[in-house]
Amino acid sequence: MTKDFFEWTKEKFDIRKVFEKPEALKGIRVLDLSQVLIGPETASLFADFGAEVIKIEPPGMGELLRSVDLWSRFWKNNSVGVMWVQRNKYFFGLNLKHPKGKAIFYDLVKKSDVIIENYVPGVMERMEISYKHIKEINPRIIYVSISGFGQWGERWNWPSWDAAAQAASGVSAISGYEGRVPMKLPYYPGDMLGGAAAFMVALAALYHREFTGEGQYIDVTQAENLARHMSLIWSYVSKKGEDWKRLGNKDASIVANAFKSKDGRLVTITAISNSHFEGLCKAMDKSELLEKYPDVVSRLKPEAREEIDGEIERWVSEHNAEEIIEMSAEFGFSAGIARNSLEVYTDGHLRDRGTVWMYNDPLFGEMVHVGPPVKMSETPGRIKWTVHPVGYHNRYILKNLLGFSDEEVKRLEEEKVIGYWVDFFGRTPPPEFDPEKDPVFRW
């Protein structure tokens, strides 16, 4: 007899076996010149799936985000914020303004596949490491430039942060409630959604290169990427001739909204298809609602929505949130609870899936990280380590990859071509770390 489907998937996706499996991007080398969130996240996704990602930072202070942390708390001397987007990378403290530093960078370029940067357009050109320069050294390179508004166009030199892109793209103007200050979507989606898209298209370029051998230049922007996510809203607004109203939690195109439960939780209910709505009506014991609105279109009209949402609101208010979750499984509609951080952290299901990824970090000890967002049966992504101090892998990279001797490395240190962290908040290694005894650092 064949195995139960879920027994089979359990084995197929078992996260305890991840490290026995191959990595999709093994052999791909990425030079990560980016900082803050969007570029670093793009590079981290490459590293999740096995690429060797070398994060190049200016010696000393390094990356800007090392200065920024939630409530400026700095766990074990480091920014937790920076840890999110510095997964599995090698940390190279290289002075690109020094001629020898640039020469080392060019040598690395010859041995690399992808470059990721997110400076204001023009900065790379001034430093002579723009695509124009790099393609002459390695025409196979895939060079990803990420910016607020693009390398060209009338906003090419506008500085940008995630929330600036939210403001400029329209995603904030359509989020929150009418009459309030529009919603600044938390957790920097301008960066995190943009990083995911940059990863996707860079992979496509890599795939293409297998057929033609040619590299290319890629221009990804925070603002346009967010605009792409608004999809149908552009078509609606232009057709309607009126602006989109902020609707709180109500979805205009789907029977979906959030309601308060008996035990005071916020519960989201969604019925996209006819069968989902049928299941919901059965759960609510409201067959008359299904009879009155038998097709999807009829339910979306504002008056119908008011009636339907009103019925759901009353029903939800009479049940505890967990009861509704149980019923969603029984009747086949979509229900969720606006869970808090602890509920997500302790969710055994998310741990089983490696979405909440528990591991032992070589530098920080017992740690949690966010696991790969897409689960792959043969080449699963994995977390190996997170942020390291500026220059931690200098010796490893120079000796291993570029064949430098101990003496040459020493000279580069003296000439300030390469360098390490400074004793400044967000830069110092965790207290347990002893550089003299660390085999990788001493490589």
Binding site: A24, P182, L203, D352, S377
Partner: protein, 432 residues
């Protein structure tokens, strides 16, 4: 030549003549009522894959969605029109054994299958990844669901359909998206973004997974199964929410319009709308408050540690709000430009909060070519183009959604050699 002129030249290309990155890849999208799967197959289609959307003979219920039930073009609502881009539309009844046999034959020609059925359903019907990969070992299979195909709760909650609000709420993203308690209800309750963030981002990650799998297949010849939910995707893009507990931090709380990591980094009301303003490093903060005429605040809040404290943020937000209310966006940018001309230290960033209608009128987007007027059913609608620019293999928007089964003749002939009478027979049997 300056970089912004030179870089533009890399993209002054004849899109139509250039190869697409995923040319030659055949995708069967058998998803039903799944915005995330639909977005994923849209992205793959923009990247040049041949996406064959398989619907039951009566069509995907997604076709019927449209904001406020308002605009339909030949019965197709806006979400489906826009994300039906570049796909071929065929019908096939998978509820019937004969239909499943046709699916099996189609899958022999496919590189990728996308589906959103209840986890285990296709497997139980003999057309799951487990069975079809035996016949087509290079097959890449993407399953979309709410709780996924594996994990503690997968089996028990297999019946639950995935949705945007499910991913937004269960990931705690919604909990982080709330105003401070004093804002009062409903503003201080968890709030979802105004677009389909969770299902879209699941789509982006899934299509990235497909390209990863295609790449790996070139090296190994092996296909694989990909499992994704909008919940996993949302947790991934907002890692810091649950993460606090690994460091023995208290529960994460939403603090809009403030921020937990940087201040000032917020939206304010101004005379003619709303603005984003930021300047959170010391020199940038000084630039911002000087431009607003309250430079004396610097002494009180001289470093990030002082500014990030919640109680201080609240006071500062209010102080700055009084200033912002008296200024227009033009006045703010004027001050910023003067500051820059005088080469003073620090950069304050201002950005007007732009509505969709305003965006559609701005020259920036026109010059970048982000929107295009397209014809559907004799009417013109504006749609967003693929926005990520690749210099050698550009992404393309070719056409919008078509009618149910419009490509039956083309696809069934191309892959299974079925035509004329064969198709009529299938139609009579209600298989297509």
């Amino acid at each position: 030549m300056e970089w912004h002129e030179l870089s533009k030249e890399y993209f002054e290309i004849e899109k139509g003549k250039l190869r697409s990155p995923l040319e030659g890849v055949v995708v069967l999208d058998a998803s039903f009522a799944s915005p995330s799967a639909t977005f994923a197959s849209s992205l793959l289609a923009e990247m040049g894959a041949e996406v064959i959307k398989i619907e039951p003979p009566e069509g995907d219920d997604l076709r019927k969605l449209s904001p406020f039930g308002e605009f339909y073009f030949d019965g197709i609502g806006l979400p489906f029109i826009v994300e039906g881009r570049n796909k071929e539309f065929i019908t096939l009844n998978l509820e019937r054994k004969e239909g499943r046999e046709i699916f099996r034959r189609l899958a022999m020609h496919a590189d990728v299958v996308i589906e959103s059925f209840k986890p285990g359903w296709m497997d139980s019907m003999g057309i799951g990844y487990r069975q079809l990969s035996e016949l087509n070992p290079g097959l890449i299979w993407v399953s979309f669901s709410a709780y996924g195909s594996f994990g503690e709760k997968a089996k028990k909650f297999a019946n639950v359909p995935d949705s945007n609000l499910f991913g937004i709420s269960m990931s705690a993203y919604m909990e982080a998206s709330r105003e401070l308690p004093e804002a009062g209800e409903p503003y201080n309750l968890p709030t979802a973004p105004g677009f389909w963030m969770a299902t879209n981002i699941a789509g982006v990650f899934a299509s990235a997974g497909v390209v990863l799998a295609l790449y790996y297949r070139l090296k190994s010849g092996k296909g694989q199964m990909i499992d994704i939910s909008s919940l996993d995707a949302m947790v991934h893009i907002a890692p810091g929410i649950f993460w606090s507990h690994a460091h023995n931090e208290p529960l994460f709380v939403g603090v809009l319009p403030l921020d937990y990591a940087v201040f000032p980094y917020a939206f304010w009301k101004i005379k003619d709308g709303y603005v984003f303003a930021s300047g959170f490093t010391d020199p940038n903060f000084r630039a911002l408050i000087t431009q607003l005429g309250v430079e004396e605040l610097f002494e009180k809040y001289p470093n990030v540690f002082a500014r990030i404290k919640l109680e201080n943020q609240k006071v500062l937000y209010q102080e700055l709000a009084e200033r912002f209310e008296q200024l227009t966006f033009a006045e703010l940018t004027q001050r910023m430009l003067e500051w820059r001309e005088q080469e003073k230290e620090g950069v304050a960033v201002y950005m007007k909060i732009t509505t969709p209608k305003e965006v559609l009128e701005e020259n920036y987007w026109k010059e970048r070519g982000d929107f295009r007027d397209m014809e559907i059913n004799g009417e013109t609608i504006k749609v967003i183009e693929p926005v990520w620019r690749l210099s050698k293999t550009p992404l393309k928007l070719k056409w919008l959604a078509k009618k149910i089964g419009e490509d039956n003749a083309f696809v069934y002939k191309k892959y299974l050699g079925l035509a004329g009478k064969d198709l009529e027979e299938l139609r009579r049997e209600s298989l297509i």
